[in-house]
Amino acid sequence: MSVTVLTEAERNPRSRDTRSRRPRRRTSVNLLVGGVLFGIIAVVAILSLVALPFEPSDTTGGRLQPPSPEHWAGTDRLGRDLFTQLMIGARLAMLTGVGAVAIAAVLGVLVGLVAAMAGRWIDDALSSLLDIAIAFPTLLLAMLVVAWRGASLESAILAIGLAGSAVIARLTRVTATRVLAQDFVTASRTSGTGTLRLIRLHVLPNVWPTLIVPLALQFGGAVVAEASLSYVGLGSPPPNASWGRMLQEAQSTVLVAPTAAILPGLLLVATIIGINLLADGLRDVADPTGRTLR
């Protein structure tokens, strides 16, 4: 792909024009495709709260049935409807994403602001701590949290959110420091604006846009991390049908009933691609020059 683009650019002397025009079109495609993919999953997740085709614990479907008009995605070993489980899985994935991102955002912005505003040794200490936290693998941190609180969806969300908050905190600190050094902030300060008001009026509105894309990406990361944890039995406990757990359970029957393994995998991929495209699209909207310069 990249090779073709380069040769085209070399051959075409007016490539600069095409380059500057193309991103805007691609931007909308990213945003659209991402939005649709993510939107579908989100709608399914919300639908699962209202109505499910079967009771999650209904075991009357027969063992490992293939997809049929009655059971759209087939059944598992215990005869439970897989489509129902996939819907619940969508809900758990959304819950994980929203929960982890919320924790990361609140905690990250808080710590980042403290570091930026306090300066001096507090800033140094917090920055060092953040570096350590960022270097710490998410899954390892998650296992520690699980060991401390027991395996549950809440533990997983907490761990993933904590891990994400370090990145957000560092980003907040850098951006906030830059904003605080601006003349209008100094002006505002000298005219007697209090710290909290300063944050609310000047710092947050300028920090926020830079955080939207990383947070969106973290949403995708959180969904994958929860699936991984569930896959190894450290995520939401049974009978909650997380996609990761469905994958794990389908593993032993993959040759007999492949749909049970393929569908949660596909949904996982669709969710991640959706949110990543969405994040990409958001980045392009927020910073139209970013793509061309890269």
């Binding site: 614990s57 075991t59 070993r77 215990l78 049974p238 009978p239």
Partner: protein, 503 residues
């Protein structure tokens, strides 16, 4: 430039792979068309997931030790056959005194792999070692009826028991006779069996070489290699690619379809592994017989067995599999009947149901079973919480501390009904009659009397629903076509390899 390089490398790799696949295919078809008739020199490669943690049975080397060593490298005074019969092995003759307390064994003329002769002293050493302070062997407590062991002369051993023990010779079938000169046996071996320990690669394989000076009949093959795989899929693939000749235990019925062609034989025997929902019979509400029976009758075990084993295995109604003398068909003693369950629950004063936690080991199928029980019990108003724990946690919380309401476990041992006579055992079933019968059975004068008494125990624990015996696992082995003589049944992991041969 880079992309062109990559492409050519990819092409080269593809070409190489295709070429080697063709060569492999050629090899496979070549070996397949070789002449028929058993080959006594063929080396048999056994694939297993059950690697011993160390090589000595008295240091808890797990059931993997039994699978490799018992009967193959080490022999006992007696042998337990694949049909659970006891027959003499190193004890050529046995004399029992009238009071049943003195056993006199005359030994076979055998030698250890190191060349030392089998002596009465070696037997004395081996028995004392098994029940010694350091030993954590599974049958230690049952064999602790041994009071003294005396070497009368080189080939005669006299064992004095502190109490009569009808299953003494059966239990001796599990005790290895080892060479006292061999020292530490956790990574070495010196027995009298048809095979000597060859190469031992921890985490990978154990090789057994044929013992040329074996005192009995020579084995039907030219040596055995146990190859270990942590992952069941990897083990199946090894069988498909021909890296192993047979698999000792297949735990996943859904991968059997790969082996249903004529190139493999699926051998289904009876195991002694019972899947249990074990209550803590000490705590409310499970101290009430009616509650236990209600839970039992609320579970459609047929559907469960089908879900887990896809029609294989069998339903049981107590702790006894059909391979034991005191077996009774009790599968319908606590029938699946949700209405009966609801009535029993009401009778016990729990008409509105109750809530309890199942401590579920994360290994194996337990969590799937737990989910099924959760569904079934919800139908009679009983709420089940599933608490997933590791095997280590299970051992501490449930087995040692008895801090649980109910748990799931697979009990692999044969003749383990006697746990119901021990009120300190983790499930805490406490019934005076059962305890008396089991004690009397061990003191019985005849096997008939022993059988009669334990049959009574069998009936009683089933009537009391002391636990919920969900089902008996099948023993599934898979062998490549042309491999014969594979032991069928899985009696506590015993796996005699000397009869296996390659056509």
């Amino acid at each position: 430039m880079i992309s062109r390089h990559r492409r050519s490398r990819l092409a080269a790799t593809l070409a190489a792979t295709t070429a080697s696949l063709l060569v492999l295919a050629g090899c496979a078809s070549g070996s397949g068309s070789s002449d028929a008739g058993p080959d006594a020199n063929a080396e048999i490669i056994v694939g297993s997931q059950n690697e011993p943690t160390n090589l000595d049975q008295i240091f808890g080397g797990s059931s993997g030790v039994t699978e490799v060593f018992t009967g193959n490298v080490y022999e006992g005074l007696f042998r337990i056959t694949d049909d659970a019969e006891v027959e003499p092995l190193l004890a050529k003759e046995t004399e029992v005194s009238d009071d049943g307390l003195t056993y006199t064994f005359t030994l076979e003329d055998a030698t250890f792999h190191s060349g030392d002769p089998l002596t009465a002293e070696a037997v004395k050493y081996s028995l004392e070692r098994f029940i010694g302070d350091d030993s954590i062997a599974a049958r230690k407590s049952q064999l602790s009826v041994i009071d003294t062991v005396t070497a009368v002369d080189d080939t005669t051993v006299e064992v004095q028991l502190s109490a009569k023990s009808i299953s003494f010779t059966y239990n001796l079938g599990y005790v290895w006779i080892v060479n006292p000169e061999a020292g530490d046996l956790t990574a070495a071996a010196d027995g009298t069996g048809p095979y000597a320990l060859g190469d031992y690669r921890k985490g990978d394989s154990i090789t057994l070489d044929v013992n040329e000076d074996y005192w009995g009949d020579a084995p039907a093959n030219g040596g055995v290699v146990y190859q270990y795989y942590a992952d069941p899929t990897a083990l199946n693939n090894a069988l498909i690619t021909g890296a192993v000749d047979l698999v000792t235990s297949q735990s996943n019925p859904d991968s059997l379809s790969e082996f249903e062609s004529g190139d493999y034989e699926i051998i289904e025997g009876t195991s002694t592994t019972k899947e249990l929902l074990a209550f803590n019979d000490r705590v409310a509400p499970f101290d009430d017989v009616n509650v236990r029976k209600a839970v039992y009758s609320a579970i459609d075990r047929e559907q469960l067995l089908d879900a887990i084993w896809d029609g294989r295995g069998q339903l049981i109604g107590s702790m006894v599999p059909p391979s034991e003398p005191w077996y009774l068909d009790l599968a319908d003693n606590n029938p699946y009947d949700p209405e009966l369950a609801a009535d029993l629950l009401a009778e016990a004063g729990y008409a509105d149901g109750f809530e309890f936690t199942i401590d579920t080991p994360e290994s194996g199928v337990h969590s799937t079973v737990a989910e099924f029980l959760q569904t079934e019990l919800a139908k009679i108003g009983v709420t089940v919480d599933i608490n997933i724990i590791t095997d280590d946690q299970w051992y501490e919380k449930v087995y040692t501390d008895h801090d649980f309401e109910a748990t799931l476990q697979g009990h692999v041992n044969d003749r383990d009904i006697n746990f119901y006579g021990d009120s300190d055992f983790y499930w805490g079933y406490d019934d005076a009659d059962v305890q008396t019968w089991l004690a009397d059975a061990e003191q019985a004068d005849s096997v008939e009397q022993q059988t009669e008494l334990i049959t009574r125990v069998n009936q009683k624990i089933s009537d009391d629903a002391a636990s919920v015996w969900l089902y008996l696992n099948p023993q599934l082995r898979i062998a490549r076509d042309g491999i014969t003589g594979v032991p069928e049944n899985g009696l506590n992991s015993l796996f005699y390899v000397y009869g296996i041969q390659e056509a």
